[in-house]
Symmetry: D4
Subunit: 248 residues, 8 copies
C-alpha cells in the first residue's frame, strides 16, 4: 500500500464510506490463502506481475494437489516445477488441462491465453545434455506469454556451429545460455551480442565439474559484459527473468 | 560434585556415617549404565536438566531397542531422533506407549506429564518443504514440556504473510526460524522482534544451496542481532535449546 | 503497527482527533533518520528492545562520527564495534563520555544507567588468545545492562582448570563459550551444565584452523545439547543474545 | 559479418567495385588495434553496443595510459575500473577531462553526451559499507547514458526503511541490489516488485561471510523470482547490464 | 578459413567460377549436421585432426543411436565414452562392428585401419582399482592409431615394482600416469624420465580423497617438471592428448 | 639394498660365487609377484615389517580371490579390508580359515600365531555409531599380534563416563580415539594422558559434519599435544600404526 | 586422581591424618596457577609427561613474559613456540639462559639436562623451503631430551638422494617427514621403512597448494601404512609426538 | 641404472677392470651435491633431459646464491624462478652473465647455446594482465632452447582478435594458453587446432575467481580435447613441458 492508497483509505474512513472494521480488513487484506501446510500468495500477480509458481520438490503429492486445487479457483495459468510424474497424475485428476513435460519435469495448466510481445527470447545450449534445463526455461517463458527460439548444441568445441546461428541469437531481446562443464559458451556469446545474457550453469559434467559449480564460477567471472547468472540447473528462474525482460 | 557436596561426604566419612568403600562408590557413583555398545548417561537429568536423548542414526535396530529397554526402567519420557519406522516397530514391542512421527522421524514415549510454563515457543518456517525439520523441533519441545505455536510458509518472497502473523511470533518467549535456500527469513524476523531467535538451516534447495550450507552461512551472517544458529536440519537441537530458554 | 494500533489510529482519524495528513505521517512515521550515507533506525529500541549498534568496519571516520552525533541527540547508550582508535578520537571530540576498549575494539558512550537483573552471564574462554572476542562480548553485555563473570583460559588440554570453575559457570543464567582451534570446550561445558550455551568460534589457530572455520564446524556439530553458534569472532552478537536471554 | 554483408561484399568484388585485396582486408577488417601488450577491440561498440571498458587491475600505469591514449583518438566516452589514483594522475596528463571517483575507483572521460531514456535504474544498498560497489555501478550506468536513483542503507534489520522507499524502487525499469553479509535484501526486494533485480554481493562482513561468498550464495538461492547475480563486488558488471536492460 | 582460402574464393567469385550464392554457401559451408538435439561437427577431423567423439553421459539411448547412425555414413572410426551397455545394444542394432569395453565403458566401431607411428604410449597405474580409467585411455589411444604399453599396480607403497618397469616407461614417447589416493606416483615417475607425463587423477580412495580431488591437487603441485593434468577419471582426455603428442 | 649388501654381492660376483646373470637377478630380485591386474609386494614384510594388506574396495571379487590365492602360498596371516560379504564367500572357497567381520568389513586368515608384547593398545570411541571403525582398527591390531582394550561410548557430552575408564586408557602404550561429529574426545583424552594418541575421525554425524571433515579438522587442531590423525574412517591405518608403536 | 588415591585420602581423613578442609584442598588441589589472562597448568608434567609449552601467537609480549616469569620458579625447561624476536627480548630480560631460534621461531630456556634415550628421531624434508618447520620439530624434540638426525632436501623429484640416505632414516625409532607441494615424499618413505612416520604438511608451494592443504590431503591419503599426520606447519606437534614415541 | 648398465658394471668388476670399492662408488655414484640446506641433483640432465631449476621462493638470498655458485661449476644454463631482485643482485656478484626479468621474476644465466628445433611454441594470453605468467613460460622455453611466438590479449570477449591470429597459433607444434577469470580461451583455442594445448590458469580476476581456481576448474572441464592443465600461475611448468614436447 503506497501513500496515495493509504490517504484515500483514510479519507474514506473519515467520510464514513468505509467503516473502521472494513479499514482494518483492507489494510490487513486477504493477501494470501492459508492451507495449513502452505500460505498461497494470492496477490503476487498484482505485486510482482505473475501468479505464484509451485516449487514441487520437497512437497508431498497431496500438498501439490491441494495447492493446485485452490489455485484452479483463481483461473490463472498454473506452473509446477521439479514435479514428479506421480504428482502430475494427482493433478490430472482435478484438471483435464494439466500437461506434463517429462524432460523439463513441469506440470502446466493453461487456463487463459496471454498476449505475447513481438520480441522473442533465445535459449542457447552448449550440448545435448543441457536440454532438460533449457526445456524448463522454455516451458516457463512460454507459459508466461513469450515466443522462444531454441539453439541447441553449439558449444565452443565446434564454434562454427555457433557462428552459423548468430543471427537468430542476435535477433532476440534477451538470451538465455545454458551450459555445463566449463561454461565457456556464455563468454563467447556475451562477447558477440548487445543483449542481456542470462547464464544458467548445469550439472552436466564429471569430476571437477562439481555438479555445476565450475560452470557457475566460470559464468560469474565471464570476461564479457552484460552477463548475469542464476542458480545451477535453474531453468525456471532464467525463463521467468527472461520473460520479465522481454516484456519491458 | 561441588565443594559443598565433597565436604559433606568427607564429613560423613569422618563421622563413620559413610564407609570408605561407600565414599569411593559415591564419588565414582553409578552415573551411567553400561550396555557394552552404549553407556547410558543416567545422571544427565540432574546435571543438564533433561534425560539423555537417543540419536538413532548409525545404531542398529537392536541397539536402539536395547537402550529404550533400559531407559523404560527409569520412568522418564523417552525421545529417539532420526529413527526409522523399523526401529519404531521394535520399540513398540516393548512399550505400547511408543509413538512415531513419520515427518519428524521421532519415536516418543511419554511416561509422565511435565508442567508447562505459561510462555510459549514459536516455530516459523519459510516454506512447506521445511516442515519435517520444524516438526522435529516441535516434538522435542513438546515432550520436554512446552507449548508450541507453529507459523508455516511465511518466506520473504511473500513477506505480507509474515507480517500478518507477527503478533503470534512476537508473543513467544523464544522463536525458532526454520528455512532453507537463502534463509533470509531469519534476518527479517530477527529485525522485527525482541526475543532470541534460534535459526535452523534446512537442506531444502538445489544447486548452490549445497544441502543447507548456504542457508547456514546466511544465518551466521545475519545483520539482525539476537540470532544464533544450530546445525543443518537440526530440529531436535533447536527444540531442546528453545525449551531451555523457555523455562528460564 | 499491530491491528490494535491501526484501529485506534483509524478511529482517531474518523473522530477528527487526527487529520488525514497526520494519519499518513504516523503510518509512515519517522521510524528512521536519514543521513544520506546511513538511515539510522530510531524505533529499533521499541521494536527489538535495544537501540541500534554501529558496526564501524567499512565506514569512514566521518560516517561513524556523523552517526554518533545524531544518536547523541536521543540520549541512549551508544555502542560502536570493530572501531579503530582513529574513529574513537573523532567521536571523543563530540562526546567526553566516550570510552575505547583497545582489546575489544569498541567505542562506548554511557548516557544512562540500566537496571541489571540479579542473574549473570558467564563468559568462558579456552585460551588467552581468545580474550579480545570475549572482551567484545563482555563490553556489549555490560553496556546493555548485565552483570558478567569471566572465566579465562580453561581449555580442555588442562580440563581440571575448567572443573575448578564449574560452580561459577553453573551459576550463570546463560553461558558464552569462546574458543578457537578445535573448539572442544563448547561440548565439554555443554555436557556439564543445564543452561543455554552460546558458542563463539574465534580465528585463533593456524593451518587447518582456517581462521575459525574448524572451531565453527566443531561447535555446530557439538554432541552436547543446548548449544547454538554465532559467526566467527562475533563477540558482539554473543553478548547481545546473552543479554536478551539474561533479561527474559 | 552476417549473410547479408557477406553477399554484398562478394557482389562488390564480383562487380570490381572492391578489389580482391580490399575484400580480404574488409573481411579481416581492422577490428582491433594492437598495442603489443593489448589488442583494443575497436568494433565492440557496433558489436555489443558499447565501447570497450578498461579493467585496470593487473595492468601497469603505463599500460593504462597507453590504452587511454589510443582510445582518445576515437572520441568515445572512456571508463577505467579498479583504477588507482596513480593511474588517474597518468591519464590526467593526457586528458583534462579525466575524472576520478575515489570511492568507486573509476576513471571517466566524458567526450560526448549520450541520450538518456526516460526510465531509470534504482540502485539499492543494504548498508553504508556497500556504497563503494554501488558507486561503481552508478558511475558505469551514468556514463553509459542512464538516470540513476540511489536508495542507501535499507537492509532488512530495519525493514521499514525499505518499505518507505518502495515507490522509488518500484518506479525503476531495473533494480540493482547491493548487499554483503547474508544478502537477504535481494529476496525481500525481489518479492515486492515486478522488475528485473540484478544482485551484487559485496565483500562486506567478516568470518563466515567469506569475502562475499555467503551473500553470493544467498542471492543465487533467492526464493524470489526475477533475480540474477553478478560476481562479488562487481558494480561495473551490474551497472553495465542494467544499462542494457534500461535501454531495451 | 584462412587468408589464402578466402583470397582464392574471392578470386573465383570474381572470375565467375563460383557464383555469389555458392560463395555464401561455401563461407557458411556445411560444417556440421543438425539432428535437432545435436549438431554433429563434421569438419572436426580437418580442423583438429580427429573426428568428433560421442560423450554419452546425459544423452538418451535414442540420441546416442541417432548420432552413431549419422556418423556411420561418414565411414570414420567411432568412439562413444561413458556409455551404458543399453546404449551399446542399441548401437549394435545398426552396426555389427560395434564393440563394448565394460571396464572402460566405451563403444567403439572400427571402420578403417589407421597407420600407427613406431613410438608408443605408456599407461602406468598406481593400483588395480585405477584400471578402468587406464582402460578408457588405452581404448581411446588405440582407436586413434597408437601402440600402447600398460604397466599396472606400481604405486609408491612398493616402489621397487616401479623401478623394475622403468625401462618400458622410459621407452615411451609420452607417458600417462593414472592414480588415486595421494597420487604420488606422478611425481616419482616425473622425476625419473625425460618425457611428457599426462597425469590422470582417479576417484579411487575414501574419506579425504574427496573423489579424486586430493590426487588432482597433488598432481597439479607435483615437484617434478614435465607434468600436466586432466580432469578426474578422464581417461579419454589423457588418451586423446597422448595420441596427439605421440603423432607429433 | 644397502651398501653392505651391494659390496657383498659384488665380492661374490668377483669371486665367481655368483654369476653375472645371477647378480643381475639378485639386484632386480623377485621382490613382487605379477598377477597382471596386481603386483603383489612380496618383500614388504622384510622392508616394512608386515606383509601386504589387501584393500578390497574397487577390486572385483575375482581379483580379490586371485590375490588371496597367491598370498596363501606364502603362509602369512592375510588381511583384506573394505571387503564385501560376496568377496568373503569367494575367499572362503579357497581357505577354510577365512573369517568375516561384518561390522569391520574385514576378511582375515590367521595362518600363524604372532607373539604379542605385554603392552596393549586402547581403542576409545565417542559413541556407539563409531564402533565399525573401531572394530576395523581392533581386527587389524589383533591380527598383527597385539592385545586390544576397547572403551566404547565415552563422548564428552557425558564426560564422567570417560573419567571412569581413565585407568584403562592410561595403562595402554598407545591409544586410538575414534570419534565423529565434533571429535572433541580426542583433545580431552590427549590432555589427560602421556601416551601417543592416534585420532580417527569418523563419518558419523549429519549436516555440517560433512562426512567426517569436521571431526578431522578438529583433531588436526587439537589443543592437546601428542595427537596425530589418519584419514576419515581409516580404522585399518590406525590399527596398523598402533601396532607399529606398540611393538617398539 | 585415581581410585587408589581417593581411597587413600578418604582413609587419611577418616584417621584424622588429614582434616576435612585439607581434604577439600587436596581434591581441588592447586593444579594450576592463575595469572588472570592465563591459567598455567602446573601438574601437566605429572599428567602427560612434559611441562606446559607456551604457544606465543595471539599473546601480547607482556603475557608471554609473565607466563615465563612464573614458569621460571618451577625450574623446568621452557619452550615458547611461534615467538617473535620482540617476545624473546622481553624474556631475555628475566632469564639469561633464554635462546632464540629465528628459523624455528622458538624461545628455549634449558634449566636442566634430560637423559636422552639411545634411539634417535629422523627428521626428513622434501625441500630447502621446508627447513623452518623441520627446525621447530628439532628444537622441540631436543629440548624434550632426544637425539635428532636431519635429512634435508630429498624430495621425490630426485629420488636417488633419498635412497642414499635410507640407512639414516631406517635407523631411527620414529621418522618425521616434512613436505609441502604434493607431499609425495611421505608415501615413498612410508613404503620403505618399518617405523612410525609422522607427516607434517608445510605451507610451501603456490596456487593450488592452498597453503599446505594439498600436502595435508595427500598425506592423509597416503597409500603407505604407518603414517599419521599433524596440522600444517606444526613442527612443534610432530617433535612432541616423536619424543613421546622415542621414549616408549 | 638400467639392466644393461648393471650387467656391464658387474662384468667389469668380474674382470677386475673395476674394483669392488669403485663398483660401490659407481652404484652409489655422485648423483647429487650436498650443500647442507640443499642437495643439488647433478644427474638430472641425464635422467630427465634438463639440469635442475632453482625454485627461489622460500629460500634465503644466501641459499639461492650458494646453489647458483655450485651450479656455475657445471657450466650449464641456469634458471631461477620466483626470484626477487635482491636474489638477483646477490647472484650478479658471482656471475656477470646473470639477467633478471622483472615481469617473469626469473634469474637466467646462459652459459652455452642450445640448438633450437625448427618448430616453435605459441604462447597465447587472454588479457594484458596475464603477461607475467606468459613471460615466465617464455623465458623458460627460450632458455631450454626453443623458439617462441607470443599472441597477447586475444580473450573471447573480442573473439575476432583470436581468429586473426589463428595461423600463428595453428603453426606451432604445441600451444600454451594463459588465462585468468573464466579461462574460456582454452576451450575455444582447443576446439580450433590439432596440437596439444597446455593450459595455465592465472590468478587474474577478483571475487569468485578465487585467485585462479575458477580458471583452473574451467580448464580441467574443457569441452575441447587435447587440453591439459598445470598449476595456477605456473608459467615455468608450462614452458618446461612445452619444450619437452617441442623437442620430441
Amino acid at each position: 500500500m503506497n501513500s496515495e492508497e493509504i490517504m484515500k483509505l483514510l479519507q474514506e474512513v473519515k467520510e464514513d464510506k468505509v467503516s473502521v472494521a472494513e479499514g482494518l480488513a483492507k489494510i490487513k487484506e486477504g493477501t494470501y490463502h492459508d492451507l495449513g501446510y502452505a500460505k498461497i500468495d494470492t496477490n503476487r500477480e498484482s505485486r510482482v506481475g505473475y501468479p505464484e509458481v509451485i516449487y514441487c520438490a520437497g512437497k508431498t503429492v497431496e500438498q501439490v494437489k491441494g495447492i493446485v486445487e485452490f489455485m484452479l479457483t483463481k483461473n490463472n495459468n498454473i506452473l509446477g516445477t521439479r514435479a514428479t510424474y506421480e504428482m502430475f497424475e494427482a493433478v490430472k485428476e482435478i484438471s483435464d488441462a494439466a500437461e506434463y513435460n517429462a524432460s523439463a519435469r513441469t506440470i502446466t495448466i493453461k487456463n487463459k491465453e496471454i498476449n505475447k510481445p513481438d520480441s522473442y527470447i533465445a535459449i542457447v545450449t552448449a550440448g545435448t545434455s543441457d536440454m532438460p534445463v533449457a526445456e524448463e526455461a522454455a516451458v516457463t517463458a512460454e507459459l508466461l506469454g513469450n515466443r522462444v527460439e531454441k539453439v541447441i548444441d553449439v558449444g565452443v568445441a565446434g564454434i562454427h556451429r555457433l557462428f552459423d546461428k548468430l543471427e537468430v541469437i542476435r535477433g532476440a531481446k534477451v538470451v538465455i545460455v545454458v551450459a555445463g562443464m566449463e561454461g565457456a559458451l556464455v563468454s563467447v556469446v556475451g562477447g558477440l551480442i548487445d543483449k542481456p545474457v542470462i547464464a544458467v550453469p548445469t550439472s552436466v559434467g564429471y569430476g571437477t565439474s562439481f555438479g555445476g559449480i565450475t560452470a557457475l564460477l566460470a559464468m560469474l567471472n565471464s570476461c564479457a559484459s552484460g552477463v548475469s547468472v542464476v542458480n545451477i540447473d535453474n531453468g525456471f528462474g532464467a525463463g521467468y527473468l527472461a520473460s520479465m525482460i522481454n516484456k519491458l
